[in-house]
Symmetry: D2
Subunit: 329 residues, 4 copies
């Protein structure tokens, strides 16, 4: 029974704590949150005790740390957990600064501790199944991947301003998926962006509509499109073309009901919210971490995956700002 | 170049005459119609001469007869064509009377001439491909077939009154398809019917909504549903379950356009009219006949197929009228 | 917090006990099972105590009874629960005997207690949404309903022999759905059956392949097809035609992954097992009961619904045995 | 009855001549081809006379010119037709040289004659319907368009070497569609390319896999992906996102047949060849030209559209070659 210390009792912290509590293989021993009531409520629900971050990281009866605090705390908490010799599962991103990530990864590397980054989409059952079939050769050698990600609507302006921008906040998921699907590092990134959904987003120096294409040294191409608008639900699709065929995975409708009449055939909108669309993905992410730590398996996505995705997000941001392609090392 | 005498220049006569003219392998030599102008117009279009039915059947420069006249003329024209030694393609049905069909088939049998009945749906590219895959064993041994046929709207009451009723006029196509798909004769027929679309149809002694299920001696089952109403287009679907899987074939939408918004995902209605939905089927029917006559191949659906479908339609009618299952020999 | 006494800790008992435990609005106070270990394990998991059926029904700290014992015990346990003044949720069927059901319902009626029958499919999110849209008039007046239900494979022969036959064991779900969708009572039932999947089923006096069509007094038609075989998963579909259009709801694939290559476009098989396909339905069923009992709402499906479905199943069985339509009062 | 002079009796010349002959509103009066037999055969089929290009252009009984000769002849034949005062429908492209196109358009402008360029995809029934719904505001203001075009296989190397490269030969269709769908001029073009399908294509200085994204002055984005490989048929899809929703149009399968078994649900490959996929588009293109000339309507796509697409193709080629974005005026 793996004993977790969970840092952060916000939306994602709750989701993860409940998965741990229901796993049958792990439990939440301690919980911390800046808001005492949030920590107390969740602790009561999952049978945990409330403690400070420092105490949790030091605690002898904590085997693993799950970090779901705000982004600015991630790197130092990873380092503290690693210095305490504990495996860490940290929500993305490690940091908005590539330099800070590199510094943090050096600590983890020196300590030889486990670090897994929570890129939840790799654990979506359909995306994971698709990627496994890719690796098993179902479509031969990968030539081109396309990733579509469209949010139902823009986040609040307060969030936008602190987010690091669409490429670092939203597209980073797709940039990680691109590496996951294509299986090679991208060496050049080209970005276009615009604020077509809400001019205030543009005024804040960000975009709400974007397209990126990237290429690996061997020539493989990935195309990503993002928008902060999708009137029909949370649009999440991937499509990968290889030398022997194509694999794609897509959206899930609210129900399977279809109405046919003189206007045509109408299916329901698709699942609208990320906790619903990726609910199983979040659970599988945590269960994978529990399994890896318990059974000594290698974890992915690793800290290095987190670093690479951040580099691509920085490159996309710079490409959009300068109007020129950006090389990535 | 097979020289056709085409009897009837109505809606279906036109469709067939144009197919012959464009086939490159046959031509319309002569055309007859009770309406001189209809005959003259179509003759001009396809490069044929107008003549009387009698003269066409006797003509030395006519190699084959295509009958697209009203149903009451079919049997005698088939007999006349057969007595003149000519192969005949006749639109369904041979007659509304099973006795008359049997009499007619005896003439054809005695003359050993070719007779093909125009059950066009067997020639729909998707239905034909499905049936071929069935025969090739794609789903093993057939266990159950389902046929859905729904007209966009009821025919005029004048037509209803002369039609022989829904089971003989509309469902007869599905009854033929049932034999085509299942590959065995049905021995028992059960019918339900109602007039839910237009009470005037019920008042005229007919139904506009019907369900039939039938069984073969070996136990295979076919279920047919019909309606004179489909607000979303002309609904034509088949589904066959076998010991190793299922094959189905369906409708074609007006376009491939799909609209997604807050109301969901909407595809176009399906093709609405039988000449559009089965345009390729009509053409393939005539081309199959031309090929069979030219190259001495066996034709199907045969006169016997026409007889069996009519027997099933009579049985369905009787089952509906009596509320009891009807055995078919 | 509604306190349940759960009778039966088998497959369905477990599913329901877990739903109750996770509901936040009810808890499993006591559990009974003929197998002491099964009862003890489940009790430990959901925080309940083990007791005898008799003690549970009498217990003052039990507010409601959930019956998931084998069918032969249902009627007497319903009566005992009702006599103790407790609301009862009983898995289908009340009994394989219509007379026994009627007797049982009289007890419930006399006691004016609540009885809900577990026809789980009414609670499938897609089927429930479809039925709500039907009642809201989305397709006008219902004219024809089609229900397809195909199991992935036949049950063990031991089960077959005690099941009451396909019509009472398997199709009874569809017969209840038919009433749920069409909203009128059926007055005539016609059945066909065969043993095409496994001859041993036929030898045991049962069928594995069946078609039923039924009609209401106003003429509405329902067609049901069943098979104990579906190589591609657990096939569960409904389609309802009304005067203004069609509503249908269907299957859920294992993933959304699609593979395209020279052989075509291939989607995954559909969910294969009823606990997976109807997992949400089972949960919603219990949550609906909890809500109804807690808030004094009327429950459906009621004991009367259970009775009517059983009458239709008897009629279908008799129709299959006699080869004649059977009237239902 | 509009009298056409058709220049070129190759694959596309035949398609167009047959459409004219069957239109009922026009006829092929004269035909020219460098290969006398090709001209004679097609002339016999459609009831035309063979003549030289010069004589056809001068002929008093020729009302319109259709140019389906090899690309190097297009510009001079357009000019000759225009100088003879005749409306011209010319297959794409006018020329591989933007300067030559501009020169040619000046002649047409001076003569005030009609010139239509044969970008056939605008006339695909689904793409045309989608664009009409866009213009009618079905999804509000356009924000992003995605165009996928994948050939079933690479063309012969001889063709590749003379083609002007993938961007000018293949993607030019998508570049025209991009303008058609988005309704604004693109001001910047970014291209990636690789030879992943056949290294010989790369050795010849071309690519077989490419991605382009472009942006208009107002910020609208279009993403195009191309490949010379698609194992599952000729892949042709468009998707347009607007402020109020999404419109997309896609591929057509060979049949509607679907097979379900333990491996899943399999649909047929999609139409494999461009004459089949765009057969109706080619016909509609010619019929639109006939209607425009006969009834004095404006034609589109115009010579200007041909020029703009060529500029975008040049920009994409240059962007791929230099690895930098290219501005378009």
């Amino acid at each position: 029974m793996l004993r977790f210390g969970v840092l952060g009792a916000g939306r994602i912290g709750k989701v993860h704590a409940r998965t741990i509590a229901a796993s049958g293989k792990a439990k939440v021993a301690y919980l911390a949150d800046a808001l005492p009531k949030a920590a107390a409520d969740l602790a009561a629900e999952v049978g945990a005790r409330v403690a400070s971050v420092e105490d949790i990281i030091k605690a002898k009866d904590v085997d693993a740390i799950l970090i779901a605090t705000p982004t600015p705390f991630h790197a130092e908490q990873i380092e503290a957990g690693s210095n305490a010799g504990k495996p860490v599962l940290c929500e993305k991103p490690v940091s908005l600064s590539v330099e800070r990530i590199e510094q943090c990864l050096k600590v983890v590397e020196k300590n030889k501790t486990t670090l897994m980054i929570g890129f939840n989409r790799r654990f979506d059952p359909s995306f994971a199944a698709l990627q496994k079939r890719l690796r098993d050769g179902a479509v031969g050698s990968v030539e081109m991947a396309t990733i579509i990600s469209r949010d139902p609507g823009p986040p609040p302006m307060d969030y936008v301003k602190l987010s690091g921008g669409l490429f670092r906040d939203m597209m980073i998921h797709d940039l990680d998926l691109a590496r996951f699907l294509v299986g090679e590092e991208f060496t050049v990134v080209n970005a276009l962006g615009a604020s077509l959904v809400d001019k205030a987003i543009g005024a804040a120096g960000d975009v709400d509509t974007a397209a990126v294409h990237m290429q690996t040294a061997s020539g493989k191409i990935c195309v990503i499109t993002n928008s902060r608008r999708a009137t029909y639900g949370y649009d999440q699709r991937i499509e990968v073309h290889g030398s022997k065929g194509m694999l794609r995975a897509g959206n899930i409708h609210n129900t399977t009901v279809e109405l046919a009449n003189g206007e045509g055939f109408r299916e329901d909108p698709i699942l609208n919210f990320f906790t619903e669309r990726y609910g199983q993905a979040y659970a599988n992410e945590v269960l994978t971490f529990i399994d890896a730590v318990t059974n000594g398996k290698t974890v992915a996505p690793s800290g290095f995956d987190g670093l690479q995705a951040q580099k691509l997000a920085d490159a996309a941001t710079l490409s959009w700002q300068t109007g020129a392609p950006v090389k990535v090392s």
